[in-house]
């Protein structure tokens, strides 16, 4: 280990950057599929943060939560994709702007 030591802050910075990328994607993209990808990116950014904090604090809870999040994200994507396919079959599009029934 010469010179460079990776600290908790570096991991958190990475986590923040990935989260920002995910959020930017979620805001800019109108393709629902891309939206899912962005959501996954954000979730994983959080996971990185959790795992890093868990490691540096010597507390396994964070890693346990990361696992939970992975599991929940998987099930969420499964449901989400199902809904998405249904939407596509009905409207022949997965453009986000087609979902505007909640207009106030």
């Amino acid at each position: 280990m010469s010179g460079i030591e990776i600290t908790l802050n570096d991991y958190l910075a990475l986590s923040t950057i990935i989260f920002m990328i995910g959020m930017y994607g979620a805001m800019r993209r109108t393709n629902l599929l891309m939206l899912f990808f962005s959501t996954e990116i954000m979730l994983n950014a959080v996971n990185i943060g959790m795992a890093a904090i868990s490691k540096f604090h010597g507390d396994l809870t964070g890693q346990m939560f990361a696992f939970f999040i992975i599991a929940i994200a998987a099930s969420e994507v499964a449901i989400g994709l199902g809904l998405l396919i249904l939407w596509f079959k009905r409207h022949n599009t997965i453009d986000l702007d087609s979902l505007k029934s909640m207009k106030g």
Partner: protein, 643 residues
């Protein structure tokens, strides 16, 4: 004995509640009989208690239940029957039983018959609470209760229209020559209620001061420790308590409501506005005599005010033609006498005059009720005349009561009034004595002016419409015990002194025998000459005031009640109305309403324009979410650093 106490206290309440069940139904005779019967039960219990207290000299003290217990503050519902309260109880139940029976006759054609009895019994219950309570809090509850019932009963005929205000002395509701006692019953009721509220604020402050300084409201504890307070505090307490007493007993400047309260049914005037409620102020002073003894300077003020009110009211009664107002002013005048006695430290004399006055004044009012009932509610004594032939019993009873009021020798009023005059003289309060002495003469004159106008002389009523007739025999029977007491109550002076001086300070006018005799003779002299003047002047000329006298300024001053109602209207009512209108139109509508409306409109407009955010687009919603998170983050960082 405790059972008697509870029976005396709660029998009127039971009657009132049962009568209230039939409040909205047409007249049911048994309601009147039942409430009168329960009052009779209360009377018997009270007399039993009187016998017990008189023979054993012991007070009965019960704690019915705890009421307010917070920390070391404890205000129980406690009742005490001692020599003072038992006197009041017997007087109150005696008069109210007879008034209840009388009302069965008086109200026989009234649609509100059942309601009337409910109110009347509720009044008696409140009055019993007032006199029996063993602490100032209970006294105050009774005090407010009688005020409420007084309001209900003065405004009993609330549906009557307002009378137009007029400058004609024979039409103006502010004049004692007009057929109207007040603008309307509703107006009179509100006037009485509001004036009493103003005075009650004084009383409340007095009670708060007691509690603040002594930490208790129990009479025993307060009176035991009142001497430990500095004089300034005691003066404040005594003054504020007396302000409350002034309101209830209609002392100047709270006097106008009493005369206007004559709009109520006449039995109400007899019970509430002559015999019982208005004497509550005197009772308060007598009950709290330990407080007033410490500060004699307040006592002198009370005595001076009492003497002033005595002559102030008596002079107004001289020219009045409104029968009930004449009697109301005589009540006011006699209340002045009582306050003179109480102020000079002669508490038992004040209580004695209270009791004798209750009997002769209530029967006088009941007689006036008979007369009004017989003449289709005529109230102007000049439109009666010669009624003696038609209603001999009423005429006899009213004459006797007027004699007692005038202080005719060996009738009830003679003894008590004599004692008050003697004590004023022996305290070297010669001005008070002279005022009361003149008032005694005026009292004799106006009482017999009324009797002469009503029962003697020409029949001035409209023969085509009015057919005067004696009232029901049972009504006369109800008045008889009161009339007998009006004659005989004074004969029990020694027993009374012996009983009440157990707890009231002993006081005897310390005059030499000869001085006392001379005083007595000149007092009897002025009373008799007042009566004689009223009698012979009427026999000679059939009236009292010539036309030229009626244009005299003094006559107009007296008939207009010293322009006091006009002054109240100009100085208090009109400015108050103007201020109220200003507050309503300028402050309330333009400031308060504007702020409230502004807030509501702001939210409404904000919501309206905020709907633009809800475009339905998910990515836009996400953006708003992002912005929200950002704001929250900034806040967290900012406030996190603040700590």
């Amino acid at each position: 004995m405790e059972n008697y106490l509870y029976i005396a206290l709660f029998a009127p309440l039971v009657g009132s509640l049962i009568a209230a069940l039939f409040g909205n139904t047409p007249k049911k005779l048994f309601v009147g009989i039942l409430t009168s019967g329960l009052l009779g039960v209360s009377l018997i219990a009270s007399v039993n208690l009187l016998a017990h207290v008189f023979t054993t000299g012991e007070a009965i003290h019960v704690n019915m239940m705890d009421w307010i217990v917070i920390g070391n503050v404890s205000i129980p519902f406690g009742f005490v029957v001692d020599q003072v309260s038992v006197t009041m109880m017997v007087v109150v139940t005696m008069v109210s039983t007879m008034v209840h029976i009388h009302s069965i006759g008086y109200m026989d054609h009234d649609t509100g018959f059942n309601r009337f009895f409910s109110y009347l019994s509720a009044f008696v219950f409140s009055m019993m609470i007032l006199v029996m309570s063993d602490n100032f809090a209970g006294l105050f509850i009774g005090w407010e209760g009688v005020g409420l019932c007084s309001w209900l009963l003065i405004g009993f005929w609330y549906h009557k229209e307002d009378v137009k205000k007029s400058n004609d002395i024979y039409e103006s509701p502010y004049s004692t020559l007009s057929p109207y006692s007040s603008v309307s019953p509703g107006y009179a009721a509100n006037e009485a209620f509001i004036m009493n509220r103003v005075a009650d604020l004084g009383m409340l402050i007095g009670i708060f001061l007691i509690f603040w300084n002594l930490g208790t409201l129990q009479y025993d504890a307060v009176f035991a420790h009142i001497g430990s307070l500095d004089t300034g505090t005691v003066v404040a307490i005594a003054t504020f308590l007396f302000i409350g007493a002034m309101g209830k007993s209609a002392q100047f400047p709270f006097n106008t409501w009493l005369a206007n309260a004559m709009e109520g049914p006449t039995p109400v005037s007899a019970l509430i506005h002559a015999a019982t409620m208005v004497t509550a102020g005197v009772y308060l002073i007598v009950r709290a005599n330990e407080i007033f003894t410490v500060v004699p300077e307040v006592g002198y003020f009370i005595a001076s005010l009492g003497a002033f009110v005595a002559i102030f009211a008596a002079t107004q009664a001289l020219v009045a033609t409104n029968m009930k107002k004449i009697i109301a002013y005589s009540t006011l005048s006699q209340l002045g006498y009582m306050f003179v006695a109480a102020g000079l430290g002669a508490y038992w004399i004040a209580l004695f005059h209270l009791a004798t006055h209750a009997f002769f004044k209530s029967v006088l009012f009941l007689g006036a009720g008979n007369v009004m009932h017989a003449t289709n509610d005529e109230i102007n004594i000049k439109k009666m005349g010669g009624l003696k032939a038609h209603m001999p019993y009423t005429a006899f009873i009213m004459t006797v009561a007027s004699l007692a009021l005038a202080g005719f020798p060996f009738l009830a009023g003679f003894y008590s009034k004599e004692l008050i005059l003697a004590s004023a003289f022996s305290e070297h309060a010669y001005i008070l004595w002279a005022t009361l002495w003149v008032t005694a003469g005026l009292t004799a004159f106006y009482s017999f002016r009324l009797v002469m106008y009503v029962f003697y002389g020409k029949e001035n009523y409209d023969h085509s419409k009015v057919h005067p007739h004696e009232t029901y025999p049972f009504v006369i029977a109800a008045m008889t015990p009161l009339a007998i007491l009006a004659i005989s109550a004074g004969w029990f002076e020694h027993e009374f002194v012996h009983m009440v001086t157990h707890i009231l300070p002993e006081y005897h006018p310390h005059l030499e025998g000869s001085t006392n005799l001379i005083l007595m003779i000149i007092t009897i002299g002025i009373s008799l000459s007042g009566i004689a003047f009223a009698y012979f002047k009427f026999k000679k000329s059939g009236g009292y005031f010539s036309e030229s006298m009626k244009n005299n300024f003094i006559y107009k001053l007296l008939a207009n009640q010293y322009y006091f109602p006009h002054m109240i209207e100009a100085v208090i009512l009109k400015p108050y109305l103007a201020i109220s209108k200003f507050s309503w139109k300028e402050i309330d509508m333009k400031l308060i309403d504007a702020i409230v409306d502004g807030i509501a409109n702001g939210f409404y407009a904000g919501g309206e324009s905020g709907t633009a955010m809800q475009s339905g687009s998910l990515s836009k919603s996400l953006k708003w979410m992002g912005i929200g998170i950002l704001i929250l983050l900034i806040l967290v960082v900012a406030f996190g650093n603040l700590k």
